[in-house]
């Protein structure tokens, strides 16, 4: 018997999770379509004027990002919890925090990354100036992983409960507020041609904090849920 290294095990889990996420080609489109649909809702509900849309554009992109990440959260650990896979992972020789981190990364790759890539397109639809594009992408690239990491703690805490959906949102959304504020602020500043390093640095700081402490908290929460 030769226990696989953390990297090997992590890679296997990553591949599995992405494969499960995209088992059918059609599903590749889901987060994208969801994001687009949510973005469509705003011009429908408010009035579709260029100026207004420009003003609320960054906010909408961020809200859509947050929501589509929260919406997918419920399934992050729930299914592994329900079918016993989580038990097996907790009993494997790999550190649970590492496995959960990998799962979170996979979740981000499936639900967050498409959004980062698609953001410029939505920005176009909201008539945001081209120079704000890179900042929007950068802020989303720094912010959405943090959303997933924070979300993963919430998902772990509620994994043992039946109806987690709204509860996760309740735990996660308040914690995600700062990210939203600074993310949208960065894009706003870029639209006015101002310096954006401040908010971006802050987003990076939060991301690394979440990256190093999040999985440990999540692992502890999962062990409690399994008890």
């Amino acid at each position: 018997m030769q226990t696989p290294g953390m990297l090997d095990a992590g890679w296997a889990l990553l591949v599995r999770d992405i494969k499960l996420g995209y088992r059918r080609i059609g599903e590749l489109a889901n987060p994208l379509v969801f994001f687009l649909v949510v973005a469509t809702l705003f011009p429908l509900a408010t009035s579709p004027e260029r100026e207004l849309l420009m003003e609320i554009g960054p906010g909408i992109v961020w809200v859509a990002a947050l929501l589509s990440s929260v919406l997918a959260l419920d399934t992050l650990y729930r299914s592994d919890m329900d079918d016993g896979t989580m038990e097996q992972m907790a009993l494997s020789p790999q550190p649970l925090a590492w496995l959960l981190l990998v799962k979170t990364v996979a979740h981000w790759l499936v639900s967050g990354l498409p959004l980062v890539i698609l953001a410029p397109l939505v920005a176009q639809a909201f008539f945001l100036p081209a120079e704000a594009g890179p900042t929007m992408v950068a802020s989303l690239a720094l912010g959405t992983p943090t959303l997933s990491l924070i979300g993963s703690i919430g998902a772990a805490l509620t994994a043992g409960l039946r109806r987690g959906g709204a509860l996760v949102a309740m735990l996660v959304l308040p914690l995600s507020m700062p990210i939203l504020i600074f993310g949208a602020r960065a894009t706003d500043l870029a639209m006015d041609g101002l310096d954006v390093t401040g908010p971006l640095n802050l987003l990076a700081a939060i991301m690394f904090l979440a990256l190093s402490l999040g999985p440990i908290a999540a692992a502890a929460a999962i062990r409690v849920s399994l008890d």
């Binding site: 059609g26 599903e27 889901n30 469509t40 579709p48």
Partner: protein, 245 residues
């Protein structure tokens, strides 16, 4: 009539029949589309207001009409499949969805391209345009739902329900221009008191619409044929056919 219906619904019979019909539809489509397109783009006079810009009508209108027609066709097939538990009808519905989505996309795209010079905007949140966009989302939802269910039988029935629920959107697309003061023009061809378009402009348009219909017939039958083959892969007639080749 009833026996004909039954006979048609038997997969091997349908398979053979569609095999002979596809070329007919295909050639008919070509024979209609090519001359109509030529007539529309070169022979028809320019419009008194829009000049040559109006010629995009020859793609926009057929694809827009087909987007609605295909949806109704698909929903009807789905309903038949649900009520009489006829698998072939489900196969037809499945085969139609991507085609309908493509027509919808084409209508949206050509509409936008047309809208930019004529209206001065690519897009407005007008009733007709929004409803057509919802139609696209419905097609996508239909395909997404199918993709998410691995058992064909269940996927058939679940997506059929969705298709039927979505039917409410079709009259909204069609009548939006009469119900609301929309930016989109009202109906030209189906206008009360006859079409308000002269024959030399209209005939190529009718030709294009019929051509698109035949094209739809050919493509959908091809897709249904393949779908039937996949679904019946374990049945005797398919195995016989494969071995005899």
């Amino acid at each position: 009539m009833w026996t004909w219906f039954h006979k048609l619904s038997s997969p091997p019979h349908f398979y053979r029949l569609s095999g002979t019909m596809i070329p007919w539809f295909g050639w008919l489509a070509a024979a209609l589309i090519i001359p109509s397109l030529y007539a529309g783009l070169a022979l028809a006079p320019a419009d008194y207001q829009q000049g040559d810009g109006f010629r995009i009508i020859y793609v926009h209108v057929p694809s827009a009409m087909l987007s609605l027609f295909v949806y109704m066709f698909m929903a009807t097939a789905a309903a038949i499949g649900m009520i009489w538990r006829m698998k072939l009808a489900h196969a037809v519905a499945v085969a139609c969805a991507p085609i309908g989505a493509s027509f919808t996309f084409l209508a949206l795209a050509t509409g936008s391209i047309w809208g930019k010079p004529m209206w001065g905007t690519w897009w407005a949140w007008d009733a007709r345009l929004t409803a057509e966009l919802i139609l696209l989302f419905l097609y996508l939802g239909y395909m997404g739902l199918r993709a998410a269910i691995d058992d064909t039988n269940r996927a058939d029935r679940a997506s059929a329900i969705l298709a039927l629920v979505g039917v409410v959107n079709v009259p909204i697309v069609h009548y939006s221009v009469t119900w609301w003061n929309s930016l989109h023009q009202a109906s030209t061809l189906l206008k009360k008191g006859g079409p308000s378009i002269p024959p030399d402009m209209a005939i190529p348009l009718y030709g294009m619409i019929l051509g698109f219909l035949c094209f739809f017939g050919a493509v959908s039958l091809t897709r249904v044929k393949r779908e039937v083959l996949v679904r019946e892969q374990n049945s005797k007639w398919v195995k016989d056919m494969v071995t005899s080749k």
